[in-house]
């Protein structure tokens, strides 16, 4: 399957809609049964569209107008425990408020689906895009996939449930899309036919456990240290790894059925014949694709790796592509304070055991919605080349600061 297998789908209908609208269509097509909803910019229109679908009778689902995001996720958890397919959406502070129950959804092995419309976290208030909200949930065990177009947002939400509900996965899944850049931007989107989606995504039928009066069980009571607590956690780790294989198969199946392929754990372009690789997630990666096209025209040898799946991390895939490269440039839209960019950091760790391990240089850019343009990404590339030849002395460098970095 090549990265450019996209073609005009035969089925479905075309519309010019925002990514939030596309996500709402996807949730409708996935026949979600319970939607706990709480507003937060820039996610709000997703749950507004869903309210419309339900009230117009286009979606048969229970809509719960919860009083917080903590309750939104708790209600999604409750719905999933009885075997219903649950969907919610959030952003920024809302996702942070959910943090406790995000862990709970994973521990309870509930394949809940969620759209996270990425937005910076406060203070100070910012409603604009960066990935700090989602990246801060990295260790909850949620499967995390970043998209970079409206169509990819719709398609990924459909694939999300199929991956999450796989019997060897059974983990919650968040599809992350950039605030405003995607959420509020109109683009042509193919909306598949319900029948095609139904044949792709069967109804959820929990194979592992459920709250059932006919077979009373207790879920989540105390586990003593000599019992299986560690093994349960190990099992989550294994399930997360399995999700990567399932995504690979399901992305292929989706492409065959719907004629669209956005990549699997990663999306790569020009990676085989390049000296350097540029790595990013979300719309930053799409912008990088344009920058790389220009750089290549200008004679630079650089390819693109879009990290779609952040957890589980595509370490093996990147290690394979990294062999023989002169350097890898990673652009993060979030920061792990006191260390560096999370993508850069994870990527460096993945390469540690590789025999052929090129230098990695990270950049932190675009926080709080700061625009990262093609010319910025080209500047990052040139700066990276310089740093690689001079020697990289940290995980990530800050790009485009309006203040001088101490020691620079």
């Amino acid at each position: 399957m090549t990265a450019q297998a996209s073609r005009l789908a035969e089925g479905g209908r075309w519309d010019i809609i925002t990514a939030n609208h596309a996500v709402a269509h996807a949730a409708r097509l996935a026949r979600v049964q319970v939607v706990p909803a709480y507003p937060i910019t820039p996610q709000t229109t997703i749950v507004e569209y869903l309210a419309d679908f339900i009230e117009r009778g286009e979606l048969d689902a229970r809509y719960i107008r919860v009083e917080s995001e903590h309750s939104a996720m708790a209600a999604a958890i409750g719905a999933s425990t009885v075997g219903a397919r649950a969907f919610t959406a959030t952003a920024s502070q809302g996702l942070l408020l959910m943090h406790e129950v995000l862990h709970w959804a994973v521990g309870a092995r509930l394949p809940i689906g969620m759209a996270v419309v990425n937005r910076a976290v406060g203070p100070p208030w910012s409603i604009h895009v960066d990935h700090q909200d989602a990246i801060s949930q990295r260790d909850t065990g949620w499967l995390q996939l970043f998209v970079s177009s409206n169509q990819e947002a719709l398609d990924s939400v459909l694939m999300m449930y199929k991956v999450a509900e796989s019997p060897d996965v059974l983990l919650p899944f968040m599809v992350c899309l950039d605030g405003f850049v995607l959420s509020h931007t109109y683009a042509p989107v193919n909306i598949p036919d319900q029948g095609d989606v139904d044949s792709f995504l069967p109804p959820y039928d929990p194979p592992h456990w459920r709250m059932d009066p006919d077979a009373p069980i207790t879920y989540g009571n105390l586990v003593m240290p000599d019992q299986l607590y560690m093994e349960m956690r190990w099992s989550i780790d294994r399930a997360s790894r399995a999700a990567k294989d399932r995504l690979k198969e399901i992305s292929t199946e989706f492409a065959e059925k719907f004629g669209r392929y956005h990549g699997s754990a990663i999306y790569e372009r020009w990676s085989q014949d390049s000296d350097y690789l540029m790595v990013a997630s979300g719309t930053l990666a799409s912008e990088a694709e344009v920058a790389i096209e220009e750089l290549r025209r200008e004679g630079e040898s650089v390819g693109l790796v879009k990290i779609r799946l952040y957890r589980p991390f595509p370490g093996e895939e990147i290690t394979e592509l990294a062999a023989g490269k002169k350097g890898i440039i990673v652009v993060d839209r979030s920061v792990s304070f006191g260390h560096g960019g999370p993508l850069a950091s994870d990527l460096r760790a993945s390469l540690y055991h590789a025999e052929d391990r090129p230098p990695v240089v990270g950049f932190i850019a675009g926080l709080g919605g700061r625009d990262v343009r093609v010319r910025d990404l080209k500047a990052i590339f040139r700066s990276a080349k310089r740093k690689i030849s001079e020697g990289v002395d940290r995980v990530s460098y800050w790009y485009g600061l309006k203040v001088r970095e101490v020691g620079e």
Binding site: R109, D168, T218, Y219, S235, R238
Partner: protein, 90 residues
């Protein structure tokens, strides 16, 4: 296919072991005084009181924790709390 380790617990007596060993006092029913009002059964937190073959309340000492609520609530004082370890055994 991976085997998931899912922490599902099943209902079973003795989830915390044979809790009869927690007991300091042992409830002993005097059938001459018992009027079978079943208040002891009603208030027993542990569900260790049932109807014996003779129609009187019967206590499962394997799990009875010896709280003495039954004796305290018995309207005819038909239940005596006898210290454990004085000629009694589980």
């Amino acid at each position: 296919m991976a085997t998931n380790v899912i922490p599902v617990s099943l209902p079973e007596a003795g989830a915390s072991g044979e809790t009869g060993i927690w007991r300091v006092f042992r409830p002993v029913i005097n059938k001459e005084k018992c009027v079978k009002c079943w208040l002891c059964w009603l208030y027993c937190q542990e569900e260790v009181i049932s109807e014996g073959a003779d129609g009187f309340p019967e206590i499962d000492y394997t799990y009875c924790k010896g709280c003495g609520m039954c004796a305290n609530e018995c309207p005819t004082k038909a239940i005596e709390m006898v210290p454990e370890g004085r000629g009694n055994s589980l």
